[in-house]
Point group: none
Amino acid sequence: MGRKSIRDIRNEELIEATIVAVHKHGYSVVTMAEIAREADASAASINYYFGSKEGLMEATMRHLLTKLKRAMIAGYAQANSPLERLYAVMDANFADELFSTTQCSIWMQFWANAPYSERLARLHRINRARVQSHFLAELRCLLPAERVAPAHDALQAYMDGVWLQVALSAQAVPPAEARRAAHRVVDVVLNRTSGGDLSA
Amino acid sequence: MGRKSIRDIRNEELIEATIVAVHKHGYSVVTMAEIAREADASAASINYYFGSKEGLMEATMRHLLTKLKRAMIAGYAQANSPLERLYAVMDANFADELFSTTQCSIWMQFWANAPYSERLARLHRINRARVQSHFLAELRCLLPAERVAPAHDALQAYMDGVWLQVALSAQAVPPAEARRAAHRVVDVVLNRTSGGDLSA
Amino acid sequence: MGRKSIRDIRNEELIEATIVAVHKHGYSVVTMAEIAREADASAASINYYFGSKEGLMEATMRHLLTKLKRAMIAGYAQANSPLERLYAVMDANFADELFSTTQCSIWMQFWANAPYSERLARLHRINRARVQSHFLAELRCLLPAERVAPAHDALQAYMDGVWLQVALSAQAVPPAEARRAAHRVVDVVLNRTSGGDLSA
Amino acid sequence: MGRKSIRDIRNEELIEATIVAVHKHGYSVVTMAEIAREADASAASINYYFGSKEGLMEATMRHLLTKLKRAMIAGYAQANSPLERLYAVMDANFADELFSTTQCSIWMQFWANAPYSERLARLHRINRARVQSHFLAELRCLLPAERVAPAHDALQAYMDGVWLQVALSAQAVPPAEARRAAHRVVDVVLNRTSGGDLSA
DNA sequence: GATGAATGAGGTTTCATTCAT
DNA sequence: TATGAATGAAACCTCATTCAT
């Protein structure tokens, strides 16, 4: 039942190796050999499992998206109001197991290459749409109609920008701190702070 | 004095071609041949002018950074207060001649590849530092010390995020509108809006 | 005694699959995986039975040669004169169970690759020698010595040529018709037709 | 005017090397590296000129077909009767510069692989149609309508069969002798020999 | 200044074969 | 007996770069 087949185990190992290797060398520069070395396997066996390099990349991105989705669902389960759910969406993006320099780096790599790979672009579109629908649903409960779209744009831009900064600065930011900052941004965007305080 | 040498003219043509080609194919996938075709030249002549592919890429990024710098300087020249100068920094990033889908795409390509090219990384660091120093200088005039850093982070993240969104959605946003939205974000971050209104 | 072991049954299935797969993809392009798929088996099991790809090919060719040999022996058993035996040799080559587009195609594949595989070349030599000795034996009874060799060459060339045409045109020729035409060629070569009529 | 460009010269060299290499190793087994070695060039430069292995093969076959066509046209020019033209068609196939073991071997390789390469198949069809139309045109002048098709089939089969034999026996046959034998076959098929003599 | 020609280096992918199960 | 799993070897092809012209 919960048993994992050898295939599943191997898949996961290879995907972990891919994440590390992509972070080290860059998405479209990394070679199958480098990934294989990282996984203590042969390049041929990666093709055996994923069919091609692009197949591997797609599987890797799918893996990350699933992680993000799970984090978001988990947060939602414990939230009891629109505001808390809004926080939960932000928290998912800055969750402990997601918001590391390595993973921010991978995300950026995928973003940058999505426009040139239909398979990546598709995953990106799906994810973006899902996050957006969550955002909008909650914002509609909290803001007048005409402010919903701009608020969503600002929040989404903020989240993307933070990831990008972490990816580029290669300087780790504690996830908890990132979540605190994100909550403040939500508050400011919703005008919930009397004094509008962006500092800790 | 304003006379351009043949070399300068050719350089500019090749850089323009590079921007187009990188946008079409992606930074690390585009080939010298594709760039050459875009410029109606030969791959060999590009090496003649820029030494190597990486040299060309560095020159191209430098070209874009110069454009950005000029836009910022021009804005500063007309600004007469900290707030106006803050607006000017944002405006430069969303200037008519910079904020196109193509160019946002290129920026993202450069960002994504900077960590893997020392020459690109250096340019990125320099630029980032310059923008940051502008931001901080103005914010210090407008906010208490402990709120300066978070405000800067939020504004920078917002700007990066917007570029990224435009690059990925491939859906053009009118620069003027982007500037208006950016001003509102500045206002909100500074708590300058009594009603804290993010909508038009 | 006529009992077939599992091994024999499996062998035959795999050989049939090989014939189909070689026809579909070409001798030196077909892969073990494709053959295995055709036989609903695994590539590994083919190696278990035949040792290697070349072993399988040799067995397959041997299988076809045996079929041809049997057809020739059967024809000989019913022939009562040199001329009838000559007809029988031709008939064997155009027998119902041998003269199909698929099999002509296989033959051509084997011919074309024999020069590059010692094992195939050996089979080819043996077969060719056997057919030749039959031909010569009968022709010697029907023609003066100095006309035997040229007549053999012509008949052999004709037979090969017809197979080749069928293999390449991929347009089936009814075996019975091929046999009729072959008989006429024999007659012409032997000058047995007063009017020398090559038409039906 | 008659000047050959470097490109033409190189093309020809590479094609000659291809013929030799294909003869040595077999059509679909020969590697680019082997061909390159034969031409004292690099594999990369072959792709530079022909785009791909298949492109090279197509060009090589086209080269051979052109040679055959020229030989046929030359023969036709000197023929003054249907019979002489018929001889000329046969002679072209067994011309001194075409009827060598090496070239017969190449032809067979191309035939065997044509069914699996659209580009080769196309060339084959075109050539076959051209030869056939020549044959039929002359045969119609020499035979009653109902004997034309069978006579053509027999002659074509004979020609193909002889090439195949030479390719497989790897035993050279003097072209002049092959032509003499071919003329006799024509005579027999047309019933022009009172004694129907297939011997020298 | 400009470019065909040429190539070495290297990447992805395929495939026959082996082996543990 | 049968086959997933794994891989070394090798093939094709691409591409940045060099160089003679």
